[in-house]
Amino acid sequence: MSLSIVKRKPLPGWVKLLIPLGAILVALLFSAIPIVIARGALFKSYYYLFYGALGTRYNLLETFVKASPLILTGLSVSFAFRARFWNIGAEGQLLAGATVAAWIGIYFVGIPSFLLLPLTIIGGFVAGGFWAFVPAALKTKLKVDDVVSTLLLNYVMIHIMGTLLFGPMQQPGSSWPRSPAILDAAQYPVLIPRSRFHLGIPLALLAVLIIWFINDRTVFGYRSKAVGVNIRAANFGGINTNSVIICTALISGGLAGLAGVGEVCAIQYKLIMDISPGYGYTGIVIAMLGNLHPLGAMFSAFFLSIINVGAQTMSRMTGVPVYIVGVIEAVSLIIMLIFLLFTEYRLRWERK
């Protein structure tokens, strides 16, 4: 007997929709192993994982709060990946957005208060976009590898932030790397009382719709898809591939920047070093789980948000450590990648 991998017939479109769901399901099943090892009662653990995220009003809204930066970074990465701009730098772009948002929110005291929030949002978007523009320009002008440059710029941004938070932006009198609080007018309004459900959440959902629209309806969406599929043929066909890559990077970085704005203006109300627990990197997982589709990014962001929020309750009720979240994330990504492989190939047993 021998096993070989052979190409399969193209699958119908609806299978593609089921794949992420299947991957998530299988990942949850696999998580039973570490749960059992951690001596958690299996059904109780699963119950509290979901109850903790969706069971009460507050937790449900908290799940939305947690989802909003994840939607934006997931969207950022999938938009870039679709054009084969390998943006591993959503984390740095998020921090750039957060830094500029905080700077505007703290120091732009003189301007009319109704202008402050829009300015903060735009500032964060532009900052994130700029931080992605740098590697895009390096890629198009000097053929610098985008994976490396986007990844390394994350660390550059962390150090810029550190320099600012220990220097000019540090709160007077504090010895911690934290900025002063932003002005009230720069805060995202809370939309549902007795919760943290803020303006950033509908903004993230709006971003999903806009990106979906750009991808499917606009000339630019077509061009960036063409560049992603075969840059040589796109160029041959008269598409200015460099400008497509740069615009894609600007939008991708901008979306990650918005995630940073949300963390500053709706959660922390100031800039701190730990403003992001790795949302930018999680964005890569989300983009892959969502098959690079904006709706996919939205749903997988919600999934990750559910297990993140729910794991807190699960941990309290069953003693299973919250780190289980990392396991579920990683396993679902691996399963997703395996499933994607099997959309194009299948296994064949051969008797010899």
Partner: protein, 507 residues
């Protein structure tokens, strides 16, 4: 002919399926010692599949294989080689940085453990070379060799492994005329030493020249078997395509009009920075097909890429209707009315993962009919693509089907439909029918002539002399980056063009 002898290979009832496609249908095939048997058929007829089964590359779904009277089950090429079956593919499998000797013995090194007995290997190699006239310096590194020489190394590699049944898959496709002559000499020498050769080809003249017996495949079935002496090109052509092959397409006599493209002293560098095109000048007129003949790799690709706008020239000038063309910008080439059929359909011409429609609109997607302020007008786009699919008879499930699901001929039709949409002034067609079957080929030829009759000037870059002679009004020959000869279609002879293609200039 050796029909009296026992066959060395017998394949019985071979059937092979790929997904839904039956590549081989109940094929019986035998090969006799000392014969050269041609396996003739169009692309996709199942020739290579059948031979890959004999070479242990694929396993067949049904059927039996006997080699030298013994039933065998081949699970890998290694098994096949052990039984004396060797196959030389179109794409060689040599290590460029190693010497001829090293390439020949790789995987079959004489000696014990890690010590390679190079001396005895060299002696064996030289013996083989002398016997069959395959003279190449054993110490030359392979990257320094020409394509023809590399093929000899492949043959030596097989002989070194004591192969006496040699399968050659389209061996002449990559060779120059002079090299083909030499290959044929070698094959005849091998056959006279009682080795058997299977020669896969779709070129009728070659098959007539080299083989003793011809087996014709069509749609995965054996449709005929002939002794070469008892058949002719015309009959074979009919058998191969299953209908009368058009000997000559109707071609109207039109006097060429004004000059539409002129190339003056064009110099172009290759990727490696060498001069691939050297001060080339020519012009192309309205109502004219200018055939540029030449063996691949003589600068055609670089020349075409400059006209396509995807490569920059290093010297000279190009004019379209008297106005200079800026190079290095595909958009400019398109805008100036140049239609472009690239040599490499899949890598350069098409977005294989996108739909047929998305490929059809590639060059026109930003025109006002299809978009306003960056938003697509899908109604017009759908109308456009539906019309093109019908007009060019593109066989696809629907306009949204991924392009990669189309066959080679239909891929070329997509490119043609896209490129000819704008009524171009000049058409640059690079190897437009390479790898296509006869039906698709005829279709493409008819479309090219239609464009010429409409007034388009066509530069036809091809290494297929049949095609060049069939379509051209005038022929130029490119050799090592220079135009080495020019002839009007009425004066040109195959012999003369063939000499030019192999670099022989007039005195």
């Amino acid at each position: 002919m050796t029909y009296g002898k026992e066959p060395v290979v017998e394949m019985q009832g071979i059937t092979k399926r790929f997904l839904d496609v039956v590549a081989n249908k109940n094929i019986d095939f035998s090969l006799f010692p000392g014969e050269i048997c041609a396996l003739l058929g169009e692309n996709g007829a199942g020739k290579t599949t059948l031979m890959n089964i004999l070479f242990g590359y694929y396993s067949c779904d049904e059927g039996k294989i006997f080699i030298k009277g013994e039933e065998v089950s081949l699970s890998s090429p290694r098994d096949a080689i052990k039984r004396g079956v060797g196959m030389i593919h179109q794409h060689f499998t040599l290590v460029p940085s190693q010497t001829v000797l090293e390439n020949v013995i790789i995987g079959a090194e004489p000696g014990r453990w890690l010590l390679i007995d190079k001396k005895s290997a060299r002696e064996k190699l030289i013996r083989l070379q002398k016997k069959f006239g395959l003279l190449i310096d054993p110490d030359a590194e392979v990257w320094t060799l020409s394509v023809g020489e590399r093929q000899k190394v492949e043959i030596l590699k097989a002989l070194y492994r004591n192969v006496d049944i040699l399968i050659m898959d389209e061996p002449t496709a990559v060779l120059a005329l002079a090299e083909i002559v030499e290959l044929f000499k070698t094959l005849k020498a091998l056959a006279s030493e009682n080795r058997s050769i299977i020669f896969i080809s779709h070129k009728l003249h070659e098959v007539m020249e080299i083989s003793d017996r011809i087996v014709v495949l069509r749609n995965g079935e054996v449709v005929a078997e002939r002794k070469t002496g008892e058949t002719n090109v015309k009959e074979l052509a009919n058998l191969m395509v299953g209908r009368e092959l058009l000997e000559r397409i109707e071609k109207k006599e039109i006097t060429p009009g004004e000059r539409v493209l002129s190339v003056d002293d064009l110099t172009v560098l290759s990727d490696r920075g060498l001069e691939a095109v050297k001060k080339v000048s020519f012009s192309l007129h309205k109502y004219e097909i200018l055939g540029m003949a030449g063996v691949s790799g003589n600068g055609q690709k670089e020349l075409a890429e400059v006209l396509f706008g995807i490569r920059e020239k290093s010297g000279g000038k190009i004019f379209i209707k008297g106005k200079e063309l800026k190079d290095g910008n595909p958009h400019e080439s398109i805008k100036r009315g140049i239609a472009r059929i690239p040599e490499d359909r899949i890598d350069t011409g098409l977005l294989m993962d996108l739909s047929v429609e998305e490929n059809l609109i590639l060059e026109v997607h930003s025109t006002p009919a299809f978009q306003q302020r960056g938003l697509f007008n899908f109604q017009n786009i759908h109308n456009f693509s539906e019309t093109k699919i019908r007009e060019y008879n593109i066989k696809t499930d629907n306009r949204d089907a991924p392009t990669k699901t189309l066959s080679g001929g239909n891929l070329q039709k997509v490119i043609l439909a896209r490129e000819l949409a704008g009524e171009p002034i000049v058409l640059i067609a690079c190897q437009p029918t390479r790898g296509l079957d006869v039906g698709a080929m005829e279709y493409i030829h008819a479309r090219l002539l239609e464009q010429r009759d409409r007034g388009c000037g066509i530069l036809l870059i091809s290494e297929d002399l049949d095609e060049i002679f069939l379509l051209s009004d005038r022929i130029i020959v490119i050799y090592e980056g220079r135009i080495i000869g020019e002839a009007d279609i009425h004066q040109a002879t195959r012999e003369q063009i063939g000499l030019w293609m192999s670099g022989v200039e007039e005195k």
